[in-house]
């Protein structure tokens, strides 16, 4: 029997993308602005979120979906700041997928949420492939990581809308050029909005939280 070629041309993640589209419609319908936070392990996602939550809690209704390979440690840290947190333990999985996030959304009161943070598993490769239904992706990069990280892991920087450089309080101890790091990131994605922050000293957090507040307002007006 002769072989026959059948054109398929189906996106491999079409099943994930379908669930993400439904989650996005649900979030937008409730006027929730949502952020998918991606970085290497140890870049400071949870600490940035703790500071951000403290600054925004008086003015906005917040929620968090916190993903980790194992333990509820990050979720417990964030719960101490008095906001609703849903933990996802991936049990070995190196990224969150839309199904996991969609199931977590069912346990959150979206009608009472203005801003939802989705803290992805610490990994700069795999999470960038999976749409979770978020409004946009934020990639973190700490100043201890090397200026060429955007060139080594282009997909995460390409798909993010925002780059938050973290731990800038450590710059006096390092040979790290923030400008070179930003130039490298912009060479991958010229549309990135960039913030330089320190969760330790609070530097840069005002611009970051003002930007978030502006996005929440724009999201409410659009819904």
């Amino acid at each position: 029997m002769s072989a026959e070629r059948v054109e398929v041309k189906e996106k491999v993640l079409s099943a994930n993308d379908q669930i993400a589209a439904e989650a996005r419609a649900q979030l937008v319908g409730h006027g929730v602005f949502s952020v998918n936070i991606i970085s290497s392990p140890g870049s400071g996602k949870t600490t940035l979120l703790e500071r951000t939550v403290d600054l925004l809690k008086p003015s906005l209704r917040l929620g968090v979906v916190a993903g980790d390979v194992q333990t509820r440690n990050d979720a417990e840290r964030l719960e101490r700041h008095g906001i609703p947190v849903q933990a996802i333990e991936t049990g070995g999985g190196c990224h969150l997928n839309a199904r996991q996030v969609s199931e977590s959304l069912a346990s959150l009161d979206l009608a009472q949420t203005d801003l939802l943070f989705i803290e992805n598993v610490g990994n700069l490769v795999c999470p960038s492939s999976f749409d979770l239904g978020e409004s946009l992706k934020v990639v973190l990069m700490s100043v201890t990581e090397g200026e060429d990280k955007p060139l080594k892991y282009p997909a995460a920087f390409r798909r993010a809308s925002v780059l938050v450089i973290t731990k800038v309080d450590l710059l006096p101890h390092l040979e790290f050029s923030t400008q070179t790091a930003i130039d490298n990131a912009l060479s991958i994605n010229p549309d990135l909005t960039v913030f330089s922050t320190s969760s330790y000293t609070g530097e840069g957090l005002e611009s970051w939280t003002e930007w978030l507040t502006g996005q929440v307002s724009a999201c409410k007006q659009g819904s």
């Binding site: 072989a3 059948v6 996106k11 491999v12 993640l13 795999c126 999976f130 060479s187 010229p190």
Partner: protein
């Protein structure tokens, strides 16, 4: 290392396609991986071979990397890129941003 879960997704798309093609046997499949998709083509090849040979005896897996395209800000030349930085082959200018090279799709099945 999410290539194994991607290989699983590809397997389930194959199974769905086969429902439309009863009494056929898959001999080969082709996957296109964007050079900027965040998916490692070699790892995906390995995962596919492991997973597919279990289900379809003797199947051949063809994984092809698809380039992205960058535009030179100096001379307007458009050129294919497989990795950053995006240096123009004509004038050496550095392009910022790219189009394409992001996707991941099952492009074809070969059946008999």
């Amino acid at each position: 290392m999410h290539e194994m879960s991607l290989a699983l997704e590809i397997l389930s798309i194959c199974e769905r396609e086969l429902e439309k093609l009863p009494e056929t046997r898959v001999t080969a499949l082709g996957v296109e991986v964007g050079a900027f998709s965040g998916v490692d083509a070699d790892s995906l090849q390995f995962c596919l071979e492991v997973m597919m040979s279990d289900r379809f005896d003797g199947v051949r897996c063809e994984v092809v990397r698809e380039p992205g395209e960058a535009a030179c800000p100096t001379c307007d030349n458009r050129f294919e890129v497989m990795q950053a930085p995006f240096e123009c082959p004509e004038c050496g200018g550095l392009a910022r941003g790219l189009s394409g090279g992001q996707g991941l799709q099952l492009s074809y099945l070969e059946v008999e």
